[in-house]
């Protein structure tokens, strides 16, 4: 409860900062569409082939978009050293991390809402019948990306070559989430479509484990 109020206030601040300019979302959207178009050259995008490769494309596009999009999360705070101001506030440092994770989750989900119809149209996939299950898988996978990505954005913001470092730290660690997300999505696109309990379970486990680790150790990243 003590965490809830500062988290919501900080979340509002994160969202307000972004929606003033919408730079991050616009740039990411254009990036994601570019990736989707380029992927069409890597295989023959017929409907059958798209069913086989589509899930992997979708998740790789999301992962790449995320690894670029999450970088400003902490880098933004460095321009005027606003993180120091946040740290001085009488709130639990976990609230700072939680609000950033939630904000990034929102940005990524907005990207996906924009991405899905284009993806379905370009690759000729019939998504509406499986939409609820697909959204669940996307939510779980995106949460994984948001948690780890936000924490690593705090890590890489202190390093040299930080724009390059974030994807490097993020992508190998997210391998289990990539596999689980891709496989769960693939089983949704198959006939008959079904929600894979195993793979959804892996995503849930990933989220729970890294939420706990962030909760236990994340605050060390915020101290000066």
């Amino acid at each position: 409860m003590a965490l809830l109020r500062p988290t919501t206030i900080l979340l509002k601040k994160e969202l307000r900062t972004e929606f003033r300019t919408r730079e991050l979302l616009t740039t990411t959207w254009v990036f994601v569409v570019t990736v989707l178009v380029l992927f069409s050259f890597t295989f023959e995008p017929t409907q059958a082939e798209s069913r086989r490769f589509g899930p992997g494309l979708l998740w790789l596009a999301l992962l790449f978009a995320g690894s670029l999009m999450l970088h400003p999360s902490f880098a933004r705070e460095q321009v005027n050293d606003t993180l120091a101001a946040l740290r001085m506030a009488p709130i639990d440092p976990v609230a700072i991390l939680a609000s950033k994770i939630l904000a990034n989750l929102c940005f990524l989900l907005l990207t996906e809402v924009f991405l899905l119809p284009i993806f379905a149209a370009l690759y000729n996939l019939n998504l509406p019948p499986i939409l609820p299950q697909l959204l669940l898988v996307l939510l779980l996978g995106t949460l994984a990306l948001a948690i780890v990505g936000t924490v690593f954005s705090a890590i890489s913001s202190h390093a040299r070559m930080r724009e390059l470092l974030l994807p490097l730290l993020l992508l190998p660690l997210l391998a289990p989430a990539l596999i689980a997300g891709t496989e769960a999505t693939r089983q949704l696109l198959e006939e008959p479509a079904g929600l894979s309990l195993e793979w959804t379970g892996v995503l849930v486990a990933f989220d729970i484990i890294f939420l706990t680790v962030t909760w236990l150790f994340g605050e060390y990243l915020l101290e000066e």
Binding site: I155, R160, P176, E198, V202, F210, V213, L221
Partner: protein
């Protein structure tokens, strides 16, 4: 600062040298015995032949690498809890040595695979997982080179080390599940291990654990000396500008 650095240099200096030599000789002897046992004592595998003997080096290297990464996690958590930089030094030492052992795994794997399966690499569950694991800790070491301030470097690499450690079971489980759902080349596994083979395997593991312990200790010592050199240099610069 200067005094602290001098005492560190002393404690890593001469009087430890004798004990270090004895331990090094013991590990070297154990390694020699293990190598002999792997080459001559263990029976030749029926279908794979002599090349299977690389197994006594390949598998214990992976196990030893896991132990090193586990030490890295312990060091990372201990550093965050105590703020003592000695734990950070244990962290970097164990991660480096773990990467070395996993490099051995990734090199000996294909050497084994080529004559047995006719291919250098297969996206087999264990090989793939080991590759991802190797990448994770290479990134850990890379991260360390890109953060300059020692205290900050220790904190961020400790947090990354803990994330990586918790990722290991997820990587193994998800890749295993992925591979069992997809067609893959049949790999000559299964069947119980001959008891002599098992004993030789454990002997080799003990030898490699000894090598790991020696290397980690040596690497920690190097890091301590590096740290004290940095301190001395800073002192010297301060004195030079002061006069």
């Amino acid at each position: 600062m200067a005094h602290g650095a001098a005492s560190v240099a002393e404690s890593t200096g001469h009087h430890r040298w004798g004990a270090g030599l004895a331990e090094t000789l013991a590990v070297a002897a154990l390694l020699g015995i293990a190598g002999y046992a792997a080459l001559f004592v263990a029976p030749t595998e029926r279908t794979m032949g002599v090349i299977q003997r690389i197994f006594y080096f390949h598998v214990p290297s992976a196990w030893t690498g896991f132990v090193a990464f586990f030490i890295n996690m312990v060091g990372s958590i201990a550093f965050l809890r105590t703020r003592n930089l000695k734990w950070d030094r244990l962290g970097v030492a164990s991660a480096e040595i773990g990467v070395v052992f996993f490099t051995v795994v990734l090199v000996t794997g294909p050497i084994w695979a080529r004559p047995v399966w006719g291919i250098w690499w297969t996206w087999d569950a264990r090989l793939t997982s080991s590759f991802v694991l190797w990448l994770l800790y290479v990134c850990y070491l890379l991260l360390r080179t890109l953060v300059d301030e020692p205290e900050r470097r220790a904190v961020v690499s400790a947090v990354f080390g803990i994330f990586a450690a918790f990722d290991i079971p997820l990587v193994y489980f998800s890749i295993w599940l992925f591979r069992t759902q997809h067609p893959q080349p049949v790999i000559g596994q299964g069947g119980a291990l001959d008891s002599r083979m098992l004993n030789v395997l454990l002997l080799c593991w003990a030898a490699l654990l000894g090598v790991m312990a020696l290397l980690i200790r040596q690497r920690c010592r190097l890091e301590t000396l590096r740290h004290s050199v940095e301190g001395l240099r800073a002192d010297a610069e301060r004195n030079a500008t002061g006069n």
